[in-house]
Protein backbone atom coordinates (compact mmCIF):
# COMPACT_ATOMS: atom_id res chain seq x y z
CA UNK A 1 0.00 0.00 0.00
CA UNK A 2 2.69 2.51 0.97
CA UNK A 3 4.51 1.74 -2.27
CA UNK A 4 1.31 2.57 -4.18
CA UNK A 5 1.11 5.83 -2.26
CA UNK A 6 4.77 6.51 -3.00
CA UNK A 7 4.21 5.97 -6.72
CA UNK A 8 1.11 8.13 -6.63
CA UNK A 9 2.96 11.05 -5.04
CA UNK A 10 5.98 10.59 -7.32
CA UNK A 11 3.75 11.01 -10.36
CA UNK A 12 2.35 14.28 -9.09
CA UNK A 13 5.79 15.47 -8.05
CA UNK A 14 7.42 14.55 -11.36
CA UNK A 15 4.72 16.33 -13.35
CA UNK A 16 5.36 19.53 -11.41
CA UNK A 17 9.15 19.14 -11.54
CA UNK A 18 9.48 18.47 -15.26
CA UNK A 19 6.90 21.10 -16.20
CA UNK A 20 8.72 23.61 -13.98
CA UNK A 21 12.10 22.70 -15.43
CA UNK A 22 10.85 23.21 -18.98
CA UNK A 23 9.11 26.46 -18.20
CA UNK A 24 12.21 27.80 -16.46
CA UNK A 25 14.03 27.59 -19.81
CA UNK A 26 12.14 30.76 -20.74
CA UNK A 27 13.82 32.72 -17.98
CA UNK A 28 15.66 35.58 -19.67
CA UNK A 29 14.20 34.63 -23.08
CA UNK A 30 10.55 35.59 -22.70
CA UNK A 31 8.93 37.52 -25.55
CA UNK A 32 8.94 40.63 -23.35
CA UNK A 33 9.80 41.49 -19.77
CA UNK A 34 6.37 41.01 -18.17
CA UNK A 35 5.88 37.62 -19.77
CA UNK A 36 9.40 36.60 -18.85
CA UNK A 37 8.50 37.31 -15.21
CA UNK A 38 5.22 35.43 -15.55
CA UNK A 39 6.86 32.31 -17.00
CA UNK A 40 9.62 32.30 -14.40
CA UNK A 41 7.17 32.90 -11.55
CA UNK A 42 4.97 30.05 -12.72
CA UNK A 43 8.01 27.79 -13.00
CA UNK A 44 8.91 28.72 -9.44
CA UNK A 45 5.46 27.75 -8.18
CA UNK A 46 5.74 24.41 -9.97
CA UNK A 47 9.17 23.66 -8.57
CA UNK A 48 7.95 24.64 -5.11
CA UNK A 49 5.08 22.19 -5.53
CA UNK A 50 7.49 19.51 -6.72
CA UNK A 51 9.62 20.06 -3.61
CA UNK A 52 6.66 19.57 -1.29
CA UNK A 53 5.54 16.43 -3.11
CA UNK A 54 8.95 14.81 -3.51
CA UNK A 55 9.83 15.51 0.14
CA UNK A 56 6.62 13.82 1.16
CA UNK A 57 7.25 10.91 -1.24
CA UNK A 58 10.62 10.42 0.46
CA UNK A 59 8.93 10.36 3.87
CA UNK A 60 6.34 7.84 2.72
CA UNK A 61 9.01 5.62 1.20
CA UNK A 62 10.90 5.64 4.50
CA UNK A 63 14.33 4.93 3.07
CA UNK A 64 15.77 8.31 3.88
CA UNK A 65 15.64 9.73 0.36
CA UNK A 66 15.29 13.51 0.25
CA UNK A 67 13.59 15.67 -2.36
CA UNK A 68 17.03 16.24 -3.91
CA UNK A 69 17.82 12.52 -4.01
CA UNK A 70 14.57 11.92 -5.85
CA UNK A 71 15.00 14.80 -8.28
CA UNK A 72 18.67 14.36 -9.09
CA UNK A 73 19.52 10.72 -8.59
CA UNK A 74 16.76 8.84 -10.34
CA UNK A 75 17.23 7.66 -13.90
CA UNK A 76 14.94 8.32 -16.82
CA UNK A 77 12.89 5.14 -16.46
CA UNK A 78 12.15 6.00 -12.83
CA UNK A 79 10.43 9.29 -13.70
CA UNK A 80 6.64 9.15 -13.90
CA UNK A 81 5.59 12.43 -15.48
CA UNK A 82 3.19 12.71 -18.40
CA UNK A 83 4.96 12.91 -21.77
CA UNK A 84 3.49 16.35 -22.44
CA UNK A 85 5.63 17.83 -19.65
CA UNK A 86 8.97 16.88 -21.19
CA UNK A 87 8.31 18.11 -24.75
CA UNK A 88 10.70 20.91 -25.73
CA UNK A 89 9.43 24.44 -25.09
CA UNK A 90 8.87 25.17 -28.79
CA UNK A 91 7.66 28.66 -29.63
CA UNK A 92 5.58 30.83 -27.32
CA UNK A 93 2.33 29.45 -28.78
CA UNK A 94 3.44 25.90 -28.00
CA UNK A 95 4.41 26.81 -24.44
CA UNK A 96 1.10 28.65 -24.00
CA UNK A 97 -1.02 25.76 -25.29
CA UNK A 98 0.80 23.19 -23.16
CA UNK A 99 0.52 25.40 -20.09
CA UNK A 100 -3.17 25.92 -20.68
CA UNK A 101 -3.86 22.17 -21.00
CA UNK A 102 -1.77 21.45 -17.91
CA UNK A 103 -3.08 24.37 -15.83
CA UNK A 104 -6.69 23.38 -16.49
CA UNK A 105 -5.87 19.80 -15.52
CA UNK A 106 -3.98 20.83 -12.38
CA UNK A 107 -6.75 23.18 -11.32
CA UNK A 108 -9.48 20.54 -11.38
CA UNK A 109 -7.20 17.78 -10.13
CA UNK A 110 -5.92 19.63 -7.07
CA UNK A 111 -9.36 21.02 -6.32
CA UNK A 112 -10.53 17.43 -5.93
CA UNK A 113 -7.37 16.34 -4.10
CA UNK A 114 -8.08 18.86 -1.34
CA UNK A 115 -10.57 16.32 0.03
CA UNK A 116 -8.03 13.48 0.17
CA UNK A 117 -8.04 11.46 3.38
CA UNK A 118 -4.27 11.82 3.40
CA UNK A 119 -3.90 15.09 5.31
CA UNK A 120 -0.48 15.98 3.90
CA UNK A 121 -1.65 15.60 0.30
CA UNK A 122 -4.81 17.54 1.13
CA UNK A 123 -2.70 20.36 2.59
CA UNK A 124 -0.39 20.44 -0.44
CA UNK A 125 -3.44 20.47 -2.73
CA UNK A 126 -5.09 23.36 -0.87
CA UNK A 127 -1.84 25.31 -1.00
CA UNK A 128 -1.17 24.64 -4.66
CA UNK A 129 -4.75 25.19 -5.82
CA UNK A 130 -4.58 28.94 -5.27
CA UNK A 131 -1.56 29.11 -7.55
CA UNK A 132 -3.11 26.81 -10.18
CA UNK A 133 -6.02 29.18 -10.38
CA UNK A 134 -3.75 32.12 -11.09
CA UNK A 135 -1.79 30.12 -13.69
CA UNK A 136 -4.98 29.00 -15.43
CA UNK A 137 -6.27 32.52 -15.67
CA UNK A 138 -3.00 33.64 -17.21
CA UNK A 139 -2.68 30.84 -19.78
CA UNK A 140 -6.39 31.03 -20.71
CA UNK A 141 -6.05 34.70 -21.50
CA UNK A 142 -3.03 34.04 -23.69
CA UNK A 143 -4.97 31.32 -25.55
CA UNK A 144 -7.65 33.85 -26.41
CA UNK A 145 -5.16 36.59 -27.23
CA UNK A 146 -3.12 34.41 -29.59
CA UNK A 147 -6.02 32.43 -31.05
CA UNK A 148 -8.18 35.47 -31.68
CA UNK A 149 -5.16 37.57 -32.63
CA UNK A 150 -3.21 37.96 -35.86
CA UNK A 151 -3.07 35.45 -38.72
CA UNK A 152 0.44 34.57 -37.56
CA UNK A 153 -0.43 33.99 -33.89
CA UNK A 154 -3.56 32.06 -34.83
CA UNK A 155 -1.64 29.79 -37.23
CA UNK A 156 1.00 29.05 -34.62
CA UNK A 157 -1.48 28.36 -31.84
CA UNK A 158 -3.59 26.15 -34.11
CA UNK A 159 -0.51 24.08 -34.91
CA UNK A 160 0.48 23.90 -31.23
CA UNK A 161 -2.99 22.73 -30.15
CA UNK A 162 -3.01 20.07 -32.89
CA UNK A 163 0.43 18.82 -31.85
CA UNK A 164 -0.36 18.74 -28.14
CA UNK A 165 -3.90 17.37 -28.10
CA UNK A 166 -2.80 13.72 -28.63
CA UNK A 167 -0.78 13.92 -25.40
CA UNK A 168 -3.75 14.90 -23.25
CA UNK A 169 -5.64 11.57 -22.96
CA UNK A 170 -2.74 10.39 -20.77
CA UNK A 171 -4.08 12.81 -18.13
CA UNK A 172 -7.14 10.64 -17.64
CA UNK A 173 -5.91 7.09 -18.21
CA UNK A 174 -6.50 5.57 -14.78
CA UNK A 175 -4.44 2.51 -13.88
CA UNK A 176 -4.24 0.22 -10.83
CA UNK A 177 -2.46 2.76 -8.68
CA UNK A 178 -5.15 5.35 -9.36
CA UNK A 179 -7.83 2.81 -8.53
CA UNK A 180 -6.20 1.71 -5.28
CA UNK A 181 -5.65 5.32 -4.24
CA UNK A 182 -9.21 6.25 -5.06
CA UNK A 183 -10.54 3.33 -3.04
CA UNK A 184 -8.54 4.63 -0.10
CA UNK A 185 -10.12 8.05 -0.42
CA UNK A 186 -6.85 9.59 -1.56
CA UNK A 187 -6.89 9.56 -5.36
CA UNK A 188 -9.36 11.67 -7.28
CA UNK A 189 -12.02 10.53 -9.74
CA UNK A 190 -10.35 11.03 -13.12
CA UNK A 191 -13.65 10.74 -15.03
CA UNK A 192 -14.98 13.77 -13.21
CA UNK A 193 -11.74 15.67 -13.80
CA UNK A 194 -11.93 14.72 -17.50
CA UNK A 195 -15.44 16.14 -17.86
CA UNK A 196 -14.49 19.40 -16.17
CA UNK A 197 -11.27 19.65 -18.18
CA UNK A 198 -13.04 19.04 -21.49
CA UNK A 199 -15.62 21.71 -20.72
CA UNK A 200 -12.93 24.21 -19.82
CA UNK A 201 -10.89 23.43 -22.95
CA UNK A 202 -13.96 23.70 -25.18
CA UNK A 203 -14.96 26.98 -23.60
CA UNK A 204 -11.53 28.59 -24.00
CA UNK A 205 -10.97 27.25 -27.52
CA UNK A 206 -14.33 28.66 -28.54
CA UNK A 207 -13.42 32.03 -27.08
CA UNK A 208 -10.07 31.82 -28.87
CA UNK A 209 -11.91 31.16 -32.16
CA UNK A 210 -10.13 27.84 -32.55
CA UNK A 211 -11.63 24.51 -33.55
CA UNK A 212 -10.87 21.55 -31.33
CA UNK A 213 -8.82 19.18 -33.50
CA UNK A 214 -10.10 15.60 -33.87
CA UNK A 215 -8.04 13.00 -32.04
CA UNK A 216 -6.59 10.61 -34.64
CA UNK A 217 -3.96 9.05 -32.35
CA UNK A 218 -2.76 9.39 -28.77
CA UNK A 219 0.62 9.37 -27.07
CA UNK A 220 1.42 8.16 -23.57
CA UNK A 221 3.78 6.06 -21.51
CA UNK A 222 5.36 8.59 -19.19
CA UNK A 223 3.53 7.18 -16.19
CA UNK A 224 5.11 3.80 -16.88
CA UNK A 225 8.55 5.38 -17.20
CA UNK A 226 8.59 5.12 -20.99
CA UNK A 227 9.67 8.57 -22.10
CA UNK A 228 10.29 10.41 -25.34
CA UNK A 229 13.76 11.10 -26.66
CA UNK A 230 13.61 14.58 -25.10
CA UNK A 231 13.62 13.34 -21.51
CA UNK A 232 17.25 12.24 -21.40
CA UNK A 233 18.47 15.65 -22.52
CA UNK A 234 16.27 17.39 -19.98
CA UNK A 235 17.56 15.19 -17.15
CA UNK A 236 21.16 15.61 -18.29
CA UNK A 237 20.85 19.33 -17.89
CA UNK A 238 18.84 19.21 -14.68
CA UNK A 239 20.95 16.58 -12.94
CA UNK A 240 24.48 17.24 -14.19
CA UNK A 241 25.60 19.37 -11.26
CA UNK A 242 24.46 16.96 -8.54
CA UNK A 243 25.74 13.97 -10.50
CA UNK A 244 29.15 15.61 -10.86
CA UNK A 245 29.37 16.86 -7.28
CA UNK A 246 26.99 14.66 -5.25
CA UNK A 247 25.53 16.47 -2.23
CA UNK A 248 26.71 19.86 -3.43
CA UNK A 249 24.90 22.75 -1.72
CA UNK A 250 24.61 26.39 -2.62
Amino acid sequence: MSSDLFQYIIRLGDNALINGQRLAEWCGRGPFLEEDLALANTALDLIGRARMLLSYAGEVEGQGRSEDDLAYFRNEREFRNFLIMELPVGDFAFTTARQFFVDAYDYYYYRALQDATDTTLAAIAAKTLKECEYHLRHSSEWMVRLGDGTAQSQARLTRAVAELMPFTPEFFAADEIDQVMQEQGIGVDLDTVATLWNNEVDRVLREAALARPPLSFTRGGGRQGLHSEHMGFLLAEMQSLQRTYPGLQW
Binding site: G20, L33, E34, L37, A38, A40, N41, T42, A43, L44, D45, L46, I47, G48, R49, R51, M52, S55, Y56, T119, T120, A122, A123, I124, A126, K127, T128, K130, E131, E133, Y134, R137, H138
Partner: protein
Protein backbone atom coordinates in the same frame (compact mmCIF):
# COMPACT_ATOMS: atom_id res chain seq x y z
CA UNK B 1 3.42 19.35 7.45
CA UNK B 2 4.31 18.52 11.03
CA UNK B 3 1.27 19.92 12.75
CA UNK B 4 0.80 18.51 16.20
CA UNK B 5 -1.84 19.02 18.85
CA UNK B 6 -0.09 21.98 20.38
CA UNK B 7 -1.92 22.59 23.64
CA UNK B 8 -1.19 19.32 25.39
CA UNK B 9 2.36 19.21 24.09
CA UNK B 10 3.17 22.66 25.29
CA UNK B 11 2.57 22.07 28.98
CA UNK B 12 4.80 19.03 29.26
CA UNK B 13 7.46 20.48 27.02
CA UNK B 14 7.73 23.57 29.15
CA UNK B 15 8.35 21.53 32.28
CA UNK B 16 10.91 19.41 30.48
CA UNK B 17 12.61 22.55 29.31
CA UNK B 18 12.98 23.95 32.82
CA UNK B 19 14.59 20.80 34.09
CA UNK B 20 16.84 19.98 31.17
CA UNK B 21 18.23 23.36 30.22
CA UNK B 22 17.71 26.72 31.87
CA UNK B 23 16.53 29.62 29.74
CA UNK B 24 19.48 31.30 28.06
CA UNK B 25 18.88 34.72 29.61
CA UNK B 26 19.21 33.75 33.25
CA UNK B 27 20.36 37.24 34.18
CA UNK B 28 16.77 38.13 34.98
CA UNK B 29 16.50 34.93 37.00
CA UNK B 30 13.60 32.56 37.36
CA UNK B 31 12.03 33.19 34.01
CA UNK B 32 9.54 30.52 33.14
CA UNK B 33 9.65 28.75 29.82
CA UNK B 34 6.44 30.61 29.00
CA UNK B 35 8.24 33.91 29.07
CA UNK B 36 11.00 32.23 27.06
CA UNK B 37 8.42 31.83 24.36
CA UNK B 38 7.29 35.41 24.77
CA UNK B 39 10.86 36.65 24.57
CA UNK B 40 11.53 34.52 21.49
CA UNK B 41 8.39 35.86 19.87
CA UNK B 42 9.53 39.43 20.54
CA UNK B 43 12.86 38.59 18.88
CA UNK B 44 11.18 37.02 15.87
CA UNK B 45 8.77 39.92 15.51
CA UNK B 46 11.84 41.94 14.49
CA UNK B 47 12.89 39.52 11.71
CA UNK B 48 12.31 41.25 8.38
CA UNK B 49 11.09 39.66 5.19
CA UNK B 50 14.11 39.50 2.86
CA UNK B 51 12.14 40.64 -0.20
CA UNK B 52 9.99 43.33 1.41
CA UNK B 53 12.18 44.50 4.30
CA UNK B 54 9.59 46.92 5.72
CA UNK B 55 7.52 43.92 6.74
CA UNK B 56 8.41 41.48 9.48
CA UNK B 57 7.55 37.82 9.28
CA UNK B 58 4.95 38.47 11.97
CA UNK B 59 3.32 41.23 9.88
CA UNK B 60 3.12 38.83 6.95
CA UNK B 61 1.52 36.07 8.99
CA UNK B 62 4.35 33.68 8.11
CA UNK B 63 5.16 33.13 11.78
CA UNK B 64 2.48 30.73 12.99
CA UNK B 65 3.53 29.38 16.39
CA UNK B 66 6.32 28.84 18.85
CA UNK B 67 6.63 25.91 21.22
CA UNK B 68 9.14 23.96 23.25
CA UNK B 69 9.85 20.39 22.26
CA UNK B 70 12.07 19.08 25.05
CA UNK B 71 15.06 21.41 24.92
CA UNK B 72 14.45 22.63 21.39
CA UNK B 73 12.52 25.71 20.49
CA UNK B 74 10.29 24.94 17.53
CA UNK B 75 9.29 27.79 15.26
CA UNK B 76 6.37 27.03 12.97
CA UNK B 77 6.25 29.00 9.75
CA UNK B 78 4.08 28.74 6.66
CA UNK B 79 5.18 29.54 3.10
CA UNK B 80 3.52 32.37 1.21
CA UNK B 81 3.92 30.83 -2.26
CA UNK B 82 5.00 27.20 -2.80
CA UNK B 83 8.15 28.22 -4.59
CA UNK B 84 8.93 31.42 -2.74
CA UNK B 85 12.74 31.52 -2.67
CA UNK B 86 12.66 33.78 0.38
CA UNK B 87 11.50 30.93 2.63
CA UNK B 88 14.99 29.45 2.93
CA UNK B 89 16.42 32.84 3.86
CA UNK B 90 13.61 33.41 6.34
CA UNK B 91 14.33 30.08 8.06
CA UNK B 92 18.04 30.97 8.22
CA UNK B 93 17.26 34.44 9.58
CA UNK B 94 15.00 32.97 12.27
CA UNK B 95 17.72 30.61 13.43
CA UNK B 96 20.34 33.35 13.37
CA UNK B 97 18.20 35.81 15.34
CA UNK B 98 17.42 33.24 18.01
CA UNK B 99 20.99 31.96 18.19
CA UNK B 100 22.25 35.51 18.66
CA UNK B 101 19.95 35.81 21.64
CA UNK B 102 21.07 32.63 23.32
CA UNK B 103 18.56 30.14 21.96
CA UNK B 104 20.97 27.50 20.75
CA UNK B 105 18.65 24.65 19.83
CA UNK B 106 16.16 25.94 17.32
CA UNK B 107 14.10 23.97 14.85
CA UNK B 108 12.19 25.70 12.07
CA UNK B 109 9.20 23.70 10.88
CA UNK B 110 7.24 24.46 7.73
CA UNK B 111 3.51 23.91 8.08
CA UNK B 112 1.23 23.95 5.02
CA UNK B 113 -2.24 23.72 6.51
CA UNK B 114 -4.09 25.95 6.71
CA UNK B 115 -2.59 27.54 3.58
CA UNK B 116 -1.26 31.07 3.90
CA UNK B 117 -3.57 33.84 2.82
CA UNK B 118 -3.05 37.57 2.46
CA UNK B 119 -5.93 37.91 4.94
CA UNK B 120 -3.27 37.23 7.59
CA UNK B 121 -1.39 40.42 6.82
CA UNK B 122 -1.56 42.53 9.97
CA UNK B 123 -3.17 45.98 9.93
CA UNK B 124 0.22 47.46 10.80
CA UNK B 125 1.73 45.47 7.93
CA UNK B 126 -0.80 46.80 5.44
CA UNK B 127 -0.04 50.34 6.55
CA UNK B 128 3.71 49.81 6.26
CA UNK B 129 3.30 48.33 2.79
CA UNK B 130 1.39 51.35 1.56
CA UNK B 131 3.96 53.76 3.00
CA UNK B 132 6.65 51.74 1.23
CA UNK B 133 4.81 52.21 -2.08
CA UNK B 134 3.22 48.77 -2.40
CA UNK B 135 -0.58 48.70 -2.48
CA UNK B 136 -1.82 46.09 0.02
CA UNK B 137 -4.26 43.35 -1.11
CA UNK B 138 -7.66 44.77 -1.99
CA UNK B 139 -10.32 43.30 0.26
CA UNK B 140 -10.18 39.75 1.47
CA UNK B 141 -9.44 36.55 -0.36
CA UNK B 142 -12.03 35.29 -2.77
CA UNK B 143 -12.02 33.59 -6.12
CA UNK B 144 -13.08 36.83 -7.69
CA UNK B 145 -10.08 38.77 -6.52
CA UNK B 146 -7.66 36.18 -7.87
CA UNK B 147 -9.16 35.37 -11.25
CA UNK B 148 -10.56 38.73 -12.22
CA UNK B 149 -8.08 41.62 -12.58
CA UNK B 150 -8.33 44.08 -9.72
CA UNK B 151 -9.25 47.55 -10.96
CA UNK B 152 -9.55 50.97 -9.39
CA UNK B 153 -6.59 50.61 -7.02
CA UNK B 154 -5.54 53.96 -5.59
CA UNK B 155 -2.05 55.03 -6.67
CA UNK B 156 0.21 55.04 -3.60
CA UNK B 157 1.78 58.32 -4.75
CA UNK B 158 -1.04 60.52 -6.01
CA UNK B 159 -4.13 58.56 -4.81
CA UNK B 160 -5.70 58.59 -8.27
CA UNK B 161 -7.95 55.61 -8.94
CA UNK B 162 -7.12 55.84 -12.64
CA UNK B 163 -4.71 52.90 -12.59
CA UNK B 164 -4.23 49.76 -14.66
CA UNK B 165 -2.53 46.40 -14.42
CA UNK B 166 0.54 46.13 -16.63
CA UNK B 167 1.88 42.79 -15.49
CA UNK B 168 0.15 40.12 -13.50
CA UNK B 169 3.50 38.87 -12.20
CA UNK B 170 6.02 41.17 -10.58
CA UNK B 171 9.48 41.14 -9.06
CA UNK B 172 8.41 38.59 -6.43
CA UNK B 173 5.70 35.89 -6.57
CA UNK B 174 3.43 37.89 -4.26
CA UNK B 175 3.26 41.06 -6.35
CA UNK B 176 1.74 42.34 -9.60
CA UNK B 177 2.76 45.47 -11.47
CA UNK B 178 0.40 48.40 -12.01
CA UNK B 179 0.66 51.86 -13.53
CA UNK B 180 -0.99 55.09 -12.53
CA UNK B 181 -2.44 56.88 -15.54
CA UNK B 182 -2.59 60.19 -13.64
CA UNK B 183 1.01 60.54 -12.42
CA UNK B 184 2.35 57.92 -14.88
CA UNK B 185 4.37 56.14 -12.19
CA UNK B 186 4.41 52.34 -11.96
CA UNK B 187 3.71 50.69 -8.62
CA UNK B 188 3.59 47.25 -7.05
CA UNK B 189 0.40 45.62 -5.88
CA UNK B 190 0.47 42.87 -3.27
CA UNK B 191 -1.83 40.24 -4.79
CA UNK B 192 -4.71 38.66 -2.92
CA UNK B 193 -4.03 35.00 -2.28
Amino acid sequence: MASKPAAALLATDMRAKQVSSPPPYTATGGLSAGSGIRQARRILEQVADPEIPVLTIADLGILRALRWRHDRLQVIITPTYSGCPAMQTIADDIRAALNRNGYTRVEVITQLAPPWTTDWLSAAGRKKLLQYGIVPPAGSTSKQSLRVPVTGLACPRCQSANTEEISRFGSTPCKALYRCNACLEPFDYFKCL
